[in-house]
């Protein structure tokens, strides 16, 4: 078991700096998810922790030991790749045993480890198959099994579910969560899918352009985003941003008001009114798109739609559910809300 500490981590490829000084502490046994749009440096950061790329500047510690120049296998980390990266010419058993074989472990010990991992991941009956004979979900489990057999203190996941179809993704998400509870190992998980981030993480790290935008628990990020970027990134459908001047909600320095679609309620007369331009039925709820003087709004209302396109509705949200942002896009927290 081991925690991870990043101090002033920078990464340059040639002259291009992609990670601009990241400080982060990941506790022992914690499940931390890196999210951000593509190109934000989340995968690069993961590869730095893995040891596949070298840190340009700063100190990287795993389990209290500086590992800047330590080989990947000696860091006590294991990684699960997006494409699974199973060795195509080896059977499932050989794939999972490869790391231990390279470490010159005894045959009997390898066998125990592999069979145990196979049992946990329900791969017992597939040990003699080649990766080409497996389904996507099974391959993913083999990739995780390969990571487990080496007893790493830290698991690194690089968008592990993005090649699976939606149904399987939800199922594997559950399996990873159970695995974390069972092994108690530190896990770092990279994804661009905010549902995965919200459901799996103890803490989420939101990255943009090689910088940390905010670190916090999923609910902290959802309820108290530090800035406009985080507010817009977490939550689906995304938060509505409205010009503060067009509303009478403006307090000093507030340029924009943010409100989540699911926080809006239909009222007889309220802050936001406009004409419905689109209605989307989701089954348990419905989305209405509104054109208002302060900007377009999407609202998520319970049940089936009661209004048709073209009709005018009034919406409002509780005061404490409104988010205020200044000209730089930073959140303004009023004293009462904090």
């Amino acid at each position: 078991m081991s925690g991870i500490r990043l101090q002033g981590i920078k990464k340059r490829f040639g002259r291009v700096e992609t990670i601009h000084g990241i400080d982060l502490e990941i506790g022992e046994g914690e499940f931390v998810v890196f999210v951000g749009p593509s190109g934000c440096g989340k995968s690069t950061l993961l590869r730095l922790i893995a040891g596949l790329d070298a840190v340009t500047e700063g100190v990287l510690e795993i389990g209290g030991r500086k590992v800047n120049d330590t080989a990947p296998a000696e860091r006590g980390v294991a990684m699960v790749f997006q494409s699974y990266a199973l060795y195509p010419h080896m059977t499932v058993y050989e794939n999972m045993a490869f790391g231990l074989k390279l470490a010159k472990a005894e045959k009997a010990r390898i066998d125990v480890k592999v069979r145990e991992a196979a049992r946990v991941l329900e791969l017992d009956t597939l040990l003699d198959r080649k990766p080409a004979q497996l389904s996507g979900g099974q391959r993913q489990r083999v990739a995780i099994g390969r990571a487990i057999t080496r007893d790493p203190g830290v698991f690194l996941f690089d968008e592990p579910l993005s090649n699976l179809d939606a149904g399987l993704r939800g199922q594997m998400r559950g399996e990873i969560a159970r695995l974390h509870a069972r092994l108690g190992a530190t896990m770092v998980y990279v994804t661009h899918d905010q549902t995965e981030a919200m459901t799996l993480a103890d803490r989420i790290v939101v990255l943009r352009d090689g910088r940390v935008e905010q670190v916090g628990t999923p609910l902290e990020l959802y309820h108290r985003p530090a800035n406009r970027f985080v507010a817009g990134f977490i939550g689906s459908p995304p938060m509505n941003f409205l010009s503060a001047d067009a509303l009478d909600l403006a307090t000093e320095g507030t340029v924009e008001i943010g409100v989540r679609p699911e926080d809006l309620r239909e009222v007889g007369s309220g802050q936001f009114k406009g004409e419905i331009t689109l209605v989307e039925e989701l089954g348990e709820a419905h989305l209405i798109h509104l054109e208002t003087p302060a900007g377009p709004i999407v609202a998520k209302l319970p049940g089936a739609a009661t209004h048709a396109r073209g009709s005018e509705v009034h919406l409002d949200a509780a005061r404490e559910r409104l988010h205020r942002f200044d000209a730089e896009g930073n959140a303004i927290f009023s004293a009462s809300a904090s």
């Binding site: 990947p72 294991a78 990684m79 060795y87 195509p88 010419h89 490869f98 390279l102």
Partner: protein, 275 residues
Amino acid sequence: MTWSPLQRIGFAALLGVIVLAAIFPFYYAVISSFRQGSELFEVSYLATPSLANYIAVFTEQPFGRNILNSVIVAFAVVAVSLGLGVTAAYALARVHFRGRGLLLVTILSVSMFPQVAVLSGMFELIRSLGLYNSLAGLILANLLLTLPFTVWVLTTFMRELPKELEDAAYMDGATPFQVIRHVFLPLLGPAMAATGLLAFIVAWNEFLFALTFTLSNEMRTVPVAIALITGASTFELPWGNIMAASVIVTVPLIALVLIFQRRIVAGLTAGAVKG
């Protein structure tokens, strides 16, 4: 697609012409090798089996020794080419360094020189290394012909292998050599078989270097030995012996192709990396 009878006949005729053009010269060599004396100069398409030519080839000169030489040279060239080729391809395909493109182009341009152009330089090199009239000298010279395309083909194949596979092996604690040995080599099997086979054919048939860098009959390889087979008088070319020798040395090539062709095809279909 279904074909009309006419199309079928046309297709069969076309195939027949191609096969005939490819096979006929070899067929004529085979039947000639079984003929004797003036019989050789009559046009006839049937063989009258006689093994006299085959026996003569082995008794009139050290042809067994020549075959052994060819085998040693060809296998050594294949082994060294593939060994150097795979490691070079790993560096050229996987390691980022300055001048990689230039190096690749240089390697390719080496193979563009006609053999005669490098002959004198190669002669000096081999003499200064003390390898004149030895098999080691021939192996070295043949590498000049086989290494460029071996490196190129293997580099191309190696580039196609996913990067994450290599990363996964590093995470499992592999060294670069272990990555090549345990991950890349098995996946490169079909490419290795194909390039190895080509290298073998080049080395087996190589004539000019083998003629120039050897002196004694005992060091000659088969192509040179065949060319230098002489008859009873200076005015007679012993066609029967030459044909018999040619047939003998072609057989191993055909056998190798047949063996590896299967492996190449099997490898190509089973080698799906992503599946």
